[in-house]
């Protein structure tokens, strides 16, 4: 009898299981967005990753902002700004009459409160404020003044970044970092941006709905559901089954290749801000010699490597300043070149290395921090270096925690790193690696007072033409000193159902949900 009950029950359960699962989220105005990223802390003073920032772009807004899919800065919550003669004071004129949902008025005091909070709480991204800003002053309710420590010509792109976003002082606690929206007063994350967070379930889903208090253009969809996937394969299958409307970050190379061929989904591609490069420890033997660095850089053959490791995805990169950013030049293409084995041999020969006396060095990589293709990348690079016949490479790996300690302890002579920019400016792609301080922090230990002066001057210069010329010169000098060797620039891929329109990607990674809507197939 009991056995029969169990059988009946399991049969019922099985039948239920095979009923096609109709989503609880209705079609129509809801767009379901799949990702394998993770949200970190729902606090502008703590979050320091692009996915969390992406949510902030849509829920809050900066005094200045990037329009969807563009790289130029336009007014946001501020109507305009003025710079003092010495370049050290920025005064912003705020938009009039803006209110938070709870009725709190948006004014200069709110801006000062938010910036002060970031500076005091000293979260991970706080340096983006504290390194540049001395203090913030309220001029009058509609005018706020930032006084900088030094003139910084790219300050507007800093102001457009998340740590500078104004928050509602009546919602955020002043002296505590927030992790979940539930810790906010009222329990909801809502600001002055186009969306508000209506449901937040870490690692599962975040639901955004249009914010009625938003001053600007209303979003073209009612609701965005961000669905978090634990792995890329499941996300790919969910997309193919139509369970999600689009997928962004990060699919496996094999999945991307298949989906690009698929007739069921559309591919949206753009150049990303992400770059990968090889670092040399410029202090100590043997790579304190720039000729050896040039030789190793010359031996890198980018396209074949991308073909093998990423099945042809991503783009070869010949400068530390990525493609699509002003002043970019393919400087490494001319010298030391790409896959230029003859040059590598010649350079090494001049230093006494040949087939019998090979240049022997360790190549380090970290196996999971940059995704699991890293082993392949190291294997291909080793093969390319060994193929010159005059280099002998030993591949070594360490988990990220160790990797970081290793570079501080000068353990790794040659190692692979990757870079997402903190702010969108060539400065962040150059001074960060070759300026004395930045370089030490990254285990490169490159230091040249002449270079430091150049970086300083370029930072202060406000004339765009002159700045461009300066960064072009720096890129040229890079090919001689080679503190790092660029390898590739990440391509952004979005795969969407055919009826999803308005996905605008940008190399700033500022992804706005507002323009997305469901159209005809």
């Amino acid at each position: 009898m009991r056995v029969r009950n169990i059988i009946v029950f399991s049969l019922v359960a099985l039948c239920l299981a095979f009923i096609p699962t109709v989503g609880s989220a209705a079609k129509g105005d809801t767009i379901v967005y799949g990702t394998t990223e993770k949200v970190s802390d729902m606090d502008t003073a703590k979050a320091y990753d692009f996915h969390t920032w992406e949510i902030f772009y849509n829920v809050y807004q900066g005094l200045l902002r990037y329009p969807a899919g563009k790289t130029n800065i336009v007014p946001g919550l501020a109507e305009s700004y003025a710079i003092s003669k010495d370049g050290k004071e920025y005064t912003f004129k705020l938009r009039k009459g803006l209110k938070f949902t709870d009725g709190t008025a948006f004014d200069a005091g709110v801006v000062k409160w938010s910036i002060d909070r970031v500076m005091e709480l000293k979260g991970d991204p706080a340096w983006l404020v504290t390194d540049f800003v001395d203090k913030v002053e309220v001029v009058d309710p509609l005018h706020v003044k930032f006084i900088l420590k030094n003139p910084v010509s790219y300050f507007p792109s800093l102001v457009a970044s998340v740590p500078y976003y104004p928050l509602n002082p009546n919602i955020y606690p002043k002296d505590k970092l927030v992790r979940d929206p539930s810790e906010l007063k009222g329990g909801n994350m809502v600001g002055l941006g186009p969306y508000k967070v209506v449901s937040f379930k870490r690692d599962e889903e975040v639901v955004l709905e249009a914010n009625p208090m938003f001053y600007g253009e209303k979003p073209k969809n009612k609701r965005i559901v961000i669905r978090y996937f634990a792995d890329a394969t499941t996300m790919r299958l969910a997309l193919e089954k139509g369970e999600i409307d689009f997928a962004f970050k990060s699919l496996n190379p094999a999945d991307i290749k298949d989906l690009q061929k698929s007739t069921k989904v559309q591919t949206i591609m753009a150049q990303g801000p992400y770059i990968r490069y090889l670092c040399f420890r410029c202090a100590g033997k043997p790579f304190d010699d720039k000729v050896l660095r040039q030789a190793v850089a010359a031996a890198i053959s980018r396209k074949p490597m991308l073909d093998k490791v990423y099945l042809g995805q991503n783009a070869p990169l010949y400068s530390m300043v990525p493609m699509g950013m002003w002043s970019h030049e393919d400087s490494f293409k001319t010298y030391p070149g790409d896959g230029n084995i003859a040059l590598a041999k010649k350079l090494l020969k001049s230093k006494g290395y040949d087939e019998k006396n090979k240049l022997t060095f360790e190549l380090w990589y970290t196996p999971s921090h940059y995704g699991d293709s890293e082993v392949d990348m190291a294997a291909v690079l080793k093969q390319q270096f060994d193929a010159t016949g005059v280099m002998n490479v030993e591949v070594k790996s360490a988990e990220w925690a160790t990797y970081r300690d290793n570079w501080t302890n000068k353990v790794m002579p040659v190692f692979l790193l990757g870079w997402y920019p903190d702010y969108i400016d060539p400065d962040n792609y150059t001074a960060a690696f070759a300026g004395t301080e930045g370089s030490r922090g990254m285990g490169i230990f490159f230091s040249d007072p002449k270079w430091d002066t150049m970086f300083n001057d370029a930072q202060k210069e406000t004339d765009m033409k002159k700045r461009t010329a300066m960064y072009k010169k720096i890129q040229k000098m890079w090919t001689d000193e080679v503190p790092t060797a660029p390898i590739y620039q990440g391509t952004l891929y979005v795969f969407a159902q055919k009826d999803v329109k308005g996905i605008l990607l940008s190399p700033t990674l500022q992804f706005n949900y507002g323009p997305i809507y469901r159209g005809a197939k």
Partner: protein, 338 residues
């Protein structure tokens, strides 16, 4: 009964040194690991000043024995502390993931028991025939198949080629656990909410991981059941029952199996470690958000308190199940006196 209570209490107390020993081992191993939570969490550029400051904040620059004493003191007060890399209580991280692991292991064990005991009993009944040999071979082969590889093969066949079952996660893309989550056991939660769509979805997601885990462990149970059944079938009372003309099936699958069950039960307690190791690998293969994945993730991040917390939970689970088995044993078999 009094004896039993006393026995349970003393057995419970005996788990304390076990947990303490494991905790000490893992504490030392973690501190000897290269890298620490601070360096694991930082990106490219953090000034050394900031790094030092953070280490001090987390108390990582204190002597190891002080850190150890401090931690043990806290654990004695049932405080597992806070994660060193996320703003999260360790207990919160664990209570988030534990139900997923228990759900998986329970169903895995269920499949193991059904398969293992039935096949084992059948093999014993048909001993020294081809069918017996085939089942024994199945037992050996299945034991040798790495659980993650079996998982991947099942994914390939039933997930990708046949497309019958989902291959990862606990729910589909349009089923939102927050709609029904209550206990964290999704099958129970969806049943409580009478959300049949979600229930079906959750069940469907459970099929491949549970079978993966269940199949690999069934090998041992086939062997155990067969061996114990062989002993029982030789016993006098079985021969007596046979001579009284009771049906052969009834004798084998009711009387004999019932008597062989007690030794099988004790063996079950010993297989818990294997079950958990299997669960960790199954979780990785099926992206199952449970304790195993939590452990691996946090080992990469060097999140000492969370890793230690996970170890405590695993140790307690092992201890709890073997205790449970002993108690059942004591109740079922009244000859046992402690």
């Amino acid at each position: 009964m009094r004896n039993l209570v006393r026995y349970i209490i003393s057995r419970t107390l005996m788990t304390i040194p076990m947990v303490l020993i494991l905790l000490t081992i893992i504490f030392v191993v973690l501190r000897l690991m290269p890298g620490d939570p601070v360096s694991a969490m930082l990106g490219g550029h953090a000034p050394e000043k900031v790094i030092e400051q953070k280490r001090e904040q987390l108390g990582l620059n204190r002597p190891m024995y002080i850190q150890y004493a401090d931690y043990i003191w806290k654990v004695c007060h049932l405080d597992l502390g806070e994660s060193m890399v996320l703003q999260q209580e360790v207990t919160e991280a664990i209570s988030d993931k534990l139900p997923a692991t228990i759900e998986l292991t329970t169903f895995g064990m269920l499949i193991t028991l059904v398969l293992g005991i039935f096949l084992g009993a059948y093999a014993a009944d048909k001993r020294r025939t081809m069918r017996d040999s085939a089942i024994r071979l199945y037992g050996i082969v299945v034991y040798c198949i790495p659980v993650y590889w079996l998982g991947l093969m099942l994914q390939l066949v039933f997930g990708i080629w046949l497309d019958w079952f989902p291959i990862a996660g606990r729910t589909g893309a349009r089923i939102f656990p927050s709609d029904f989550e209550n206990t964290g056991f999704y099958l129970i939660d969806t049943l409580l909410m009478r959300d049949w769509t979600a229930f079906g979805d959750v069940l469907l997601h459970l099929v491949l991981p549970a079978f993966t885990l269940g199949l690999t462990l069934s090998g041992i149970f086939v062997r155990l059941t067969r061996a114990n059944m062989l002993d029982v079938l030789k016993a006098d009372y079985i021969l007596a029952a046979e001579s009284r003309g009771i049906g052969h099936g009834t004798i084998v699958y009711r009387h004999a199996l019932k008597n062989a069950f007690i030794p099988i039960l004790t063996m079950m307690g010993l297989q818990v470690a294997l079950l958990m190791a299997g669960a960790i690998l199954t979780e990785t293969t099926f992206s199952w958000p449970g304790m195993g994945r939590l452990l691996l993730e946090r080992i990469y991040l060097r999140d000492y308190p969370t890793i230690q917390g996970v170890i405590i939970v695993f140790a307690l689970m092992v201890a709890f199940i073997s205790l449970l088995v002993d108690i059942i044993y004591a109740i079922v078999d009244p000859r046992i006196r402690y």
